[in-house]
């Protein structure tokens, strides 16, 4: 059995002494990971590769690099090193385990527009699912509000550093994101809402969206008057969307739902960064590509509602072939733990292995506007990495170590397997 050895532990504190305590967050680390098969994602695979990490970032990647003096070295012989997995669609922390009314904090379903709320305000950093995701090689997540509302609120983009509060987990410098939703969910939630809040049909949803964005523009005009209206945080958030300062994450399934949303977005001059779920994406992949929208989907979920009935496992590959950015997301505190196997399934349906690996690393980074920071093993990128003992698509592979900014946030030897963790 393959296992990891630490050698030359020269720098104190860098590569965590065995301890039950989680690694301290934000340790800009110096580290060398040596002898791994490096799946760089942005470049060719490097056999017997070396990755040199300094200040929490990747300094050098290559084969046969001279090892810098005084750096701790992880001998990863036989292992596969990959960029940490990125999940653009998570509800961890806002539907904390164990589930119940007491932890149901994902949908502020009091009205269909709540751009004022931030998922981070619901986030429970002690959700036990987070530790399991780290043990599954996940390093960055976007925590989203749910999809009850047409505009559900702002997302929290986090690095999965173990922490007691959300603040040390925030991905510094990440662009803001907002959740919007179309289709059956808002229809269902607001079908029987009282009077003014009631929404019943898709045409009603889109009319409501247009009215809100128009109201935001009217508010901007009104604010220039001598007696301006009181500040309206909903309107100001929507103005930031119109101004392109916030990336739009659109929940939807049907081709005609995303095309309908484009009618609104095009009219108000903003774009959609990621179309989430997107089971029909293959039907309008050319339109999605023309709009520069990335597609975040599952490999094979389908059928749970009528708008999800046309999902096919070739969706991601067809989007990719059309020149689009195909992302696998989890939307699940269960699947997030093994997005590598979810990606492996795409190979069964015709995607190349290298492209399938991109769907959980570089492509989600592109979707979040973070491609210069994470998602690839290249100089200058954050040292967010995962080390497997076998190829990440092999069902028997086990994560040995997960690093964020060069600090180990999961270490199989130190932390054990997450089974039995609560």
């Amino acid at each position: 059995m393959w296992f990891l050895t630490f050698v030359a532990l020269a720098a104190p504190g860098a590569a965590a002494a065995p301890s039950a305590a989680p690694a301290s967050p934000v340790q800009p680390a110096r580290l060398v990971i040596d002898n791994a098969t490096v799946l760089t994602i942005s470049g060719p695979v490097i056999v017997d590769g070396t990755v040199i990490i300094e200040g929490g970032r990747i300094r050098e990647v290559g084969s046969g690099l001279p090892l810098p003096a005084g750096f701790p070295v992880v001998d990863a012989r036989g292992g596969y090193l990959m960029p940490g997995i990125i999940d653009v669609h998570s509800h961890m922390g806002v539907y904390s385990w164990p589930g119940g009314s007491g932890t149901d904090d994902g949908n502020e379903a009091v009205e269909a527009f709540t751009p004022r709320v931030w998922a981070g305000d619901s986030f429970d950093p002690e959700d036990p699912a987070l530790a399991r995701a780290r043990a599954g090689g996940v390093t960055t997540i976007q925590v989203l509000p749910g999809s009850a509302n047409l505009v559900g609120g702002l997302s929290a983009i986090l690095k999965l550093r173990p922490a007691r509060t959300i603040e040390p987990m925030l991905f510094a410098g990440a662009p803001r994101g907002i959740k919007m939703a179309v289709g059956e969910n808002p229809k269902r939630v607001y079908r029987n809402a009282p009077d003014d809040d009631q929404l019943q049909t898709r045409m009603g949803l889109f009319a409501a969206l247009r009215a809100r964005f128009q109201a935001a523009l009217d508010y901007r005009t009104a604010r220039t008057r001598k007696e301006p209206p009181a500040r309206d945080l909903d309107a100001e958030t929507l103005l930031d969307v119109i101004d392109g300062k916030i990336r739009v994450n659109l929940h939807g399934y049907r081709a005609y739902d995303v095309v309908g949303f484009y009618r609104v977005a095009d009219a108000f001059g903003f774009s959609v960064a990621i179309f989430h779920h997107a089971l029909d994406a293959y039907k309008v992949r050319d339109i999605l590509v023309a709009h520069g929208t990335a597609v975040a989907t599952w490999p094979d979920w389908w059928g749970f509602k009528l708008e999800a009935f046309d999902g096919i496992p070739w969706n991601a590959q067809m989007v990719h072939e059309a020149g689009g950015t195909a992302i696998l997301h989890s939307d699940s505190a269960d699947h997030v733990q093994r997005l590598n196997f979810e990606a492996a399934k795409l190979v069964r349906y015709g995607m190349s292995e290298s492209e399938a690996l991109r769907t959980i690393t570089l492509n989600p980074a592109i979707g979040l506007g973070l491609a210069d920071r994470v998602g690839a093993i290249a100089p200058g990128r954050d040292a967010d990495l995962v080390l497997y003992d076998r190829h990440p698509f092999d069902i028997y592979t086990q994560v040995q170590l997960t690093w964020i900014d060069g600090a180990p946030v999961y270490d199989r030897e130190r932390d054990g397997v997450p089974d039995g963790q609560r």
């Binding site: 293959y282 059928g303 067809m318 397997v417």
Partner: protein, 471 residues
């Protein structure tokens, strides 16, 4: 494709690219998919050679497979004729030991759901009466290697009777392997829904005990099989003429004779014993009480599993456990009781109060304790991931050959069925794959069900082909 006799059925089918409306797709595709009607067993023969045969019992041999009249007649090196598979993997295909395939078309459309009847106690309910053999999820599952499923009714204390079905067949009769295949009973929170449901665990256990107590035979009949048989014979002579309910039971009996490979006589007798003043539900419970109908008790929390074991012991039930997310906590007790477990999903998380101790190595720990188990993937649309679930169990320490057996022959074997193994006398059902069936990258290339090669066509392949080039 140059397969013998039946295999050529689908060779010329080109899935349509025609731009039909979705309504037409939903309504018409079932028919458009051209599932070959399973005709006479006599024409269902094929021979394959030069394969890596994963038998399903943990062994592997090189050679071929011969199927005649729907049944396997030879396996291994002695089969040297037939189509050359070039060393590809041939295995029994997946048998899902507990799901609701064919009972639900679209989860959130109530009008398409038949997975649970209204009453909390519905022993007379039979899934074969609701099963839709044209559900689009069936071909989708078969495309990825699911060849059989134990279809079970949903969340009720006494949910009704399940059935083993093949994933190929135009009618329930074509698809049926065994019915009834056990009465489903649910403990834990799963058993607290439906009309007149108890509202607590103690209420559920009390109600279940009460039902079983009341299903006990009259004093004079307890343990007197001969007396009952005599009584039955006398009664059945009378009832041939007048009792509607007996017609229903006769159907049961026919099903058993036709499709149950073992204990035909036993089950057949069981089906109409004790008719008369008893309701259909009462009679089902009486069969359970006599150990003639298996009872599948669903429970996840360790304490619920122990309640299940005590009830099984108390009433001497022929039982299996279903779910068992926290089974590893009581593995010794389950092993001691000798009760098989239809385990899963193996990906159950510590995400609810019923499963706080869920672990990926649950299957491995149960196996190590000596528990016989099959792995199941509940649900309907995505039961094709059963092999990945088994792979995850293997990854967490279940021996890989046991993991494979747990999704092939084990489950049907618990019901005495001759399916799920590549052995002479078993149904001629198998799947051709390009690698280890437990690996997520492995694609499944061809599927045969009881001698008939199934089309590699589904609602999903039709959508793929329809939008392959944009129009």
């Amino acid at each position: 494709m140059t397969v013998s006799a039946t295999g050529c059925l689908m060779a010329n089918v080109k899935p349509g690219k025609y731009p039909v409306s979705r309504r037409a797709l939903l309504g018409g595709l079932g028919a458009a998919m051209l599932v070959p009607r399973w005709t006479a067993a006599a024409s269902s023969s094929y021979s394959l050679k030069n394969a890596r045969l994963l038998i399903g019992d943990g062994t592997e041999v090189r050679g071929g497979l011969r199927v005649e009249a729907g049944l396997i007649t030879a396996v291994g090196p002695e089969v040297t004729s037939g189509e050359d598979l070039g060393g590809a993997v041939l295995w029994p295909g997946m048998y899902n030991s507990g799901c609701d395939l064919g009972l639900v078309e679209v989860d959130q459309e109530g009008g398409t759901r038949d997975d649970a009847d209204g009453a909390a106690v519905s022993p007379q309910v039979r899934v074969v009466d609701a099963y839709n053999p044209r559900s689009l999820a069936i071909a989708v599952s078969r495309f990825d290697g699911v060849v059989g499923a134990l279809v079970l009714p949903g969340d009720r204390l006494v949910a009704g009777q399940g059935a083993w079905l093949r994933t190929l067949g135009d009618t329930v009769d074509d698809a049926l392997i065994q019915a009834p295949a056990g009465l489903v009973v649910r403990l834990g929170r799963g058993g607290l829904s439906g009309t007149d449901a108890p509202s607590s665990r103690m209420g559920a256990a009390a109600k279940l005990r009460e039902l079983l107590e009341n299903a006990e035979d009259d004093d004079e009949d307890v343990g007197r099989e001969e007396g009952w048989r005599k009584k039955r014979r006398l009664r059945s002579r009378d009832e041939d003429e007048d009792d509607d309910e007996d017609d229903e039971e006769d159907r049961d009996e026919d099903d058993d004779h036709e499709d149950d490979h073992e204990d035909d006589d036993e089950e057949g007798e069981a089906a109409d014993v004790g008719a008369g003043e008893l309701s259909p539900g009462d009679r089902v419970l009486r069969q359970v009480r006599r150990g003639r109908l298996k009872v599948l008790i669903a429970a996840d929390r360790a304490s619920d599993l122990l309640v299940a074991l005590s009830i099984i012991d108390e009433f001497k039930l022929d039982a299996m456990l279903l779910g068992a997310a926290e089974g590893h906590l009581v593995a010794g007790a389950i092993a001691e009781a000798g009760v098989p477990v239809l385990l899963g999903p193996v990906t159950t998380q510590p995400s609810s109060f019923d499963t706080l101790n869920a672990r990926y190595d649950n299957a491995a720990l149960l196996h190590r304790a000596g528990v016989r188990l099959a792995i199941r993937a509940p649900g309907h649309h995505n039961i094709r991931n059963l092999n990945l679930d088994a792979g995850l169990a293997a990854r967490a320490g279940l021996p890989p050959e046991v993991a494979l057996a747990a999704i092939t022959g084990n489950g049907p074997g618990f019901f005495g069925l001759k399916v799920g193994l590549l052995r002479p006398g078993y149904e001629g059902t198998c799947v051709l794959s390009d690698g280890d069936p437990l690996q997520p990258r492995t694609a499944h290339r061809r599927v045969w069900v009881r001698g008939v090669e199934a089309p590699m066509v589904s609602y999903q392949t039709e959508l793929r082909d329809r939008f392959r080039s944009l129009w």
